[in-house]
């Protein structure tokens, strides 16, 4: 399909505008959502203080995934030290510590 020069120019402009919108929309939406989420940040920080942990409630099936900051490093392997983590969520949330107390 051969396009006339004017059509090519219009197509180029349309393509560049579409791309700018596609890249700009997530940036703008991100700024708006971050502002919205920041409104109750103090309350969520107070909840963290009450619970004593900032851990996210992603998994309620394994305590080492539910509370990685408070579970001891051997928690996933307490019953079988060389066992694989049976929870697929464990593939996402890496173990927090290597040796006890040492940052990875």
């Amino acid at each position: 399909m051969d396009l006339r020069p004017k059509t090519r120019r219009r197509l180029l402009v349309a393509l560049l505008i579409t791309n700018a919108l596609a890249i700009g929309a997530p940036i703008v939406h991100g700024m708006i959502r971050r502002d919205e989420r920041a409104r109750d940040l103090e309350a969520r920080r107070a909840l963290t203080s009450v619970l004593g942990t900032p851990d996210l409630a992603l998994s309620s099936s394994s305590r080492w995934l539910r509370h990685p900051s408070l579970a001891e490093p051997t928690a996933p392997f307490a019953d079988a030290p060389a066992a694989l983590d049976v929870d697929p969520g464990g593939a996402f949330v890496a173990p927090r510590w290597a040796p006890e107390g040492v940052d990875r």
Binding site: A46, T48, D87, A94
Partner: protein
């Protein structure tokens, strides 16, 4: 400027002559970018969420260990911790997990003192109010939804062979779901009853220090005095959060490999050579007097437009998938076998710089991949090419 515009227009025309191939390439790049951006943006958002809360946890948390497993803390340990000169205050806590057979799910039970100063702020996250006396509970939105609970309802939770009746005084809103989806906040006597703790025994101790800069020293002194204790430092947790949900996580690494393979395949297709039509087209350009620089630039613009469009559409699709639809499948994989799924209330963590970096990560190598074949094609025997040979 006019020349650059003309080259861009030529690139558009060349793409329009092979619309099927252009659309397929845009779709391929959009898919690769979309998958990459979905994983990265979900992880960045989770990291940001946890990181923003990390400095609100206690400066030190002390747990007792026995046989490699957590044990309860006794009064003697509390006495030592409270008397340490570097400690401002201690808060012994009772918390743990309760399996609810009717849901097949674990509830995280936390005790709270009714006079805790933080509760006034926490109340803004609740529909209803926090527990004030024995027999009352505030629960997470997912748990409440699973059982159809509303403030004012009662629930019987299992305690061994018996049940313990609690009145629901509050339900956490969706905005707190990522922290409290499976939480039951109760008073200490209820927590002891539900979790089977004897009086005078605690799960762990939250410690507030007189001087937070002395966390290292105090933690070392506690560890020396209580050799079987585990001391969790707040600054360690804050640093570790940057790694826990990051690129080191196994599945993320595994998912990025095929994506990288797809991208290399697409780039290889560009580098490995051109079709007959494209070769003939470049031959004609050389014949009518285009110099090598213009031929290369036209190829660069052509691939750049394809890559930019694919990357931009992929990025938008990833953003809508993650923050519009709550990342179905990907978020489910993250949740594992969990039965109580939190409401997806994450804010995108990417700023403009990071988004542009991801787009550039796709566009730049893919555009540059066009240079090699264009360079080769510009140096062909034009006469033979136009007669139908290569």
């Amino acid at each position: 400027m006019r020349k650059t515009l003309a080259l861009f227009e030529y690139a558009i025309g060349a793409l329009a002559r092979r619309p099927g191939k252009a659309v397929a390439l845009v779709a391929g790049i959009a898919l690769v970018t979309g998958l990459l951006a979905s994983i990265l943006s979900l992880h960045a958002a989770l990291e940001r969420e946890a990181g923003a809360l990390a400095d609100a946890m206690p400066e030190l948390t002390v747990q007792a260990m026995q046989g490699g497993r957590p044990a309860t803390i006794d009064a003697e340990t509390l006495e030592f911790l409270a008397g340490h000169p570097g400690v401002r205050s201690i808060r012994p806590r009772v918390w743990g997990y309760l399996f609810v057979p009717s849901l097949g799910a674990n509830l995280s039970v936390f005790s709270v003192a009714p006079d805790a100063p933080e509760l006034a702020e926490v109340a803004t996250l609740l529909e209803g109010r926090a527990p004030r006396s024995k027999g009352e509970a505030a629960v997470g939105d997912t748990f409440a939804r699973s059982l159809g609970l509303r403030p004012g309802d009662s629930i019987a939770l299992p305690t061994g062979s018996k049940f313990h009746l609690l009145e629901i005084t509050g339900v956490f809103g969706a905005e707190a779901s990522l922290q409290a989806a499976d939480v039951a906040l109760v008073t200490e006597p209820d927590a002891r009853l539900l979790l089977g703790y004897d009086d005078g025994r605690f799960t762990d101790v939250a410690i507030s220090l007189a001087s937070p800069t002395e966390a290292d020293v105090v933690a070392a002194q506690i560890a020396e005095h209580l050799p079987h204790a585990r001391v969790v430092r707040r600054d360690q947790i804050a640093r570790a959060y940057a790694l826990t949900l990051g690129a080191r996580a196994g599945l993320v690494g595994a998912m990025l490999l095929p994506l990288l393979g797809c991208f290399l395949l697409l780039a290889w297709d560009r580098m490995s050579g051109l079709g007959e039509d494209e070769k003939r087209e470049l031959g004609v350009l050389t014949l009518v007097g285009w110099d090598l620089r213009d031929v290369l630039l036209a190829g660069l613009f052509q691939n750049g437009l394809v890559a930019l469009t694919g990357a931009a559409l992929g990025l938008l699709a990833a953003h809508v998938y993650v923050f519009g639809f709550g990342a179905p499948l990907l978020f489910d994989a993250l949740l594992g076998w969990s039965r109580l799924h939190p409401t997806f209330e994450l804010a995108p963590a990417w700023d403009a710089g990071q988004i542009v970096t991801v787009v550039a990560f796709v566009v730049v190598p893919f555009s540059l991949a066009s240079l090699a074949p264009a360079f080769r094609a510009a140096d062909v025997d034009v006469d033979a090419l136009l007669r139908g040979g290569a």
